[in-house]
């Protein structure tokens, strides 16, 4: 499709790697709660591929933009691009067989990385997000068009249309996307099929976003990006730690807590729990037994944690190292929750699911979340089940 002259001459071309996981979501429609290892069963139950259609929905809105797509053959991208009326694309990866797998996702993403794309736009679910992230890490931003069975990771737009809007906004800025941290969460599909949600934090990706509706009202003045907010939080917590050198601080997973360690010039494990006392790293990547050993003999400790995933999970999801026993020893009053305003805008309600309902109840109805330098927000604690992910 030809671009209007004005547009093409004034805007820089944005390069996007596009990947569709053709089998994403196959299991969901037929009650399989996930597609890992279940493609045959899903097809036997009559599941029809839907990922390509979801991708097309987003791509149709992008067909007039100064974007060049680098994509994959057939159902892994080309089909959706063609059906959406996009003409500016290149097929850079060809799957060896019709039945694609995680290996194909990984191979395609390696090519995207080599080609230095501005963004990887993928269409799938949590499994696809995990595979894409395993290649990109935090080197290249990624954004998911939701098409899977589960989307607990924070890299997904709410709908295909929303994904298109985010891409458009970045393209208007010549490929300069507003970037935030987004957790990639790994869900244990076998447990999920048994009705149990077991997740762990797989990694923290870079993901583009558009400022939410909150920014459209005039009373809001928020030019700060998420990095700035993290620095403010980290600066405050460091001052608190400086003022309480006898307290053992346990920093949970995530980039906000990593920023706190950064303020102290300490190297933190991004996905684990590390213990800090008097400005020095005492232990890394703690598990339950190590926690209990550290906390014995009345050590005064504080747990500094952030909110994980797209559903606002505070404890439980991705933080299984912290057992109810550990939380009881530390004391709920010694839990400091930190989260950036950007994160809180997406998760106005948080959920606590320690695995011990009595303990969950004792968190009360609201929690104070440190969201900046000497600033906290009162956030509602949701009750009952952690909500299902958005499937658009």
């Amino acid at each position: 499709m030809e671009l209007p002259l004005l547009l093409s001459s004034t805007l820089t071309m944005c390069v996007i790697g596009l990947l569709v996981n053709p089998i994403a979501g196959l299991g969901g429609a037929v009650g399989l709660k996930g597609t890992d290892g279940q493609v045959g069963e899903a097809r036997a139950r009559g599941a029809l591929p839907r990922a390509s259609g979801r991708a097309m929905e987003a791509l149709a809105l992008l067909s007039g933009l100064p974007v060049c797509f680098i994509s994959c053959s057939g159902a892994m991208g080309e089909e959706a691009l063609r059906n959406a009326g996009v003409s500016r694309y290149e097929v850079a990866y060809r799957a060896s067989s019709g039945l694609t797998s995680a290996d194909d996702t990984v191979a395609a993403c390696r090519i995207f990385l080599e080609r230095n794309v501005d963004l990887v736009l993928f269409c799938g679910g949590d499994g696809t997000a995990r595979d894409v992230y395993s290649v990109l890490g935090d080197a290249t931003p990624m954004l998911g068009i939701p098409a899977g069975v589960k989307m607990y990771s924070a890299v997904f737009a709410v709908t295909p249309t929303a994904a298109a809007r985010i891409v458009m906004s970045g393209c208007r800025e010549g490929g300069h996307f507003l970037i935030r941290d987004a957790e990639v969460v790994d869900v244990d599909e076998e447990a999920y099929r048994e009705g149990e949600l077991k997740t762990h934090l797989f990694g923290i990706a870079k993901s583009p976003y558009v400022r939410g509706l909150i920014q459209s009202t005039k009373q809001v003045f928020e030019s700060h990006d998420e990095e700035r907010a993290k620095t403010d939080i980290a600066h405050f917590i460091r001052e608190v730690m400086d003022g309480t050198p006898d307290i053992l601080y346990i920093l949970g997973p995530g980039s906000t807590t990593a920023a706190i360690a950064g303020e102290l010039d300490l190297k933190k494990t991004l996905l684990g729990f590390d213990a800090v006392k008097g400005g020095a790293l005492v232990a890394s990547d703690l598990h339950e037994q190590a926690f209990l050993a550290l906390l014995k003999e009345g050590t005064q400790a504080r747990l500094v944690i952030s909110i994980i995933g797209a559903q606002g999970a505070l404890l439980g999801r991705g933080t299984q190292q912290v057992s109810p026993n550990v939380i009881r020893i530390i004391g709920i009053e010694n839990i400091i929750v930190v989260a950036t305003p950007q994160k809180l805008t997406e998760t106005p309600v948080v959920f606590v699911d320690t695995g011990d309902p009595d303990l969950d109840t004792s968190f009360g109805t609201h929690i104070s979340v440190i969201s900046g330098y000497r600033i906290a927000r009162r956030i509602k604690i949701g009750t009952g089940e952690i909500p299902s992910p958005n499937t658009g």
Binding site: T217, K218, F221, R378
Partner: protein, 454 residues
Amino acid sequence: MHTKILLDEDQMPKAWYNILADLPTPLDPPLHPGTGKPLVPEDLSHIFPMELILQEMSPKRMIDIPSEVQDILRLWRPSPLYRAHRLEKHLKTPAHIYYKYEGVSPPGSHKPNTAVPQAYYNMKAGIERIATETGAGQWGSALAFATQLFGLECTVYMVRSSYSQKPYRKSMMQVWGAECIPSPSTRTKAGSSVLQKDPETPGSLGIAISEAVEDAATHSNTNYSLGSVLNHVCLHQTITGLESKEQLAMVDEYPDVVIGCLGGGSNFAGISFPFAGDKLKGTHRETDIIAVEPASCPKLTKGLYTYDYGDVAGLTPLLKMFTLGHDFVPPSIHAGGLRYHGASPIDSKLIHDGVMRAVSYHQSEVFDAAQTFARTEGIIIAPETSHAARAAIDEALRCKKSGEAKTILFNCSGHGHFDMSAYDAYYAHQLVDYEYPEKLIRESLARLPKIPGT
């Protein structure tokens, strides 16, 4: 039964009430920021006219309002006292709720009660220009209004976040001939240094004060003016409480509860000091006097009572007051106003000594009250004022439970016509309930100025 209780123009008070004369123990003196010694009048003479400095320290109980000032105040004063019949009915409370409505002034708030005399005394002292700061713009627009009545120029340093959020306050200042500059600015050393460290800063009242003080101190034809906190500002505001007392007497009432919102403390001082004076003198010992502050900036309920600067740069005298620390920058997207880190030294002392007390509210609770008030009494009030309305409603609801027919008076300090974006945010469920993590901050706080012997 009256709805509006009105005074004639000739019943307007001719003198302000100076509560300093009735304090059982004297106020801790303001200290020089350089020497740490108590201030002498000359220390302030490069930024304030002598008449205001003398008022700041005066032991006289009643201080005459100059007739030129009275002439201007009569443009809207005496302001009406309303009995909130419809709100009482809605709440099904036996309490009598009265509100003193200051939104009838040309700038729409209580602020011109002090802007007019301040401009007058500066004019009399031969000053040509006044520099000031403003947060949401109420004070800036009030001073713009007042200065042009006396032919003075006016420069307003407006907190940057408000400058972009409240364009119409800026327009008002322009209509009244003032220059309005977003703060921090490069016009002053204080502003430049903040911008250099943090180009993205939303600004704060503390920073804007530093700029205005520096502007005044470095220009001989220019003085500084503050819209709250200081004793003389509280003094000028007492006209609201004095009028209210007379108006209540007209319907044989005396308040059991007096309520005002508190940012720097002058509107609260204005409504409460005449009643606090009665309490101190022993004529009405039981009056419950309540200052209402936002949970996001809770200096009275969570701050320290100590000496602190009034501004970020540490240019102002040190005042003994409730403070969150002069470097506290409140959340810029808090919609409810009242964002100053400190509080009037007199209010602080009276609260500290138990003559008055303080409560805090989250902003969503405050806007709930504003909506109730607008839907019963009709007036769309300013977010700041809504804090007082919240407390008044809660007091009335307590009366409903206890069956007491208490008389509640609150200062309805201004209308909210320029704050509709905050109401929009409320209806879009976008108001954030900020909190002040007190315990952690205390642990981290080592930045208050160290004053020997305090």
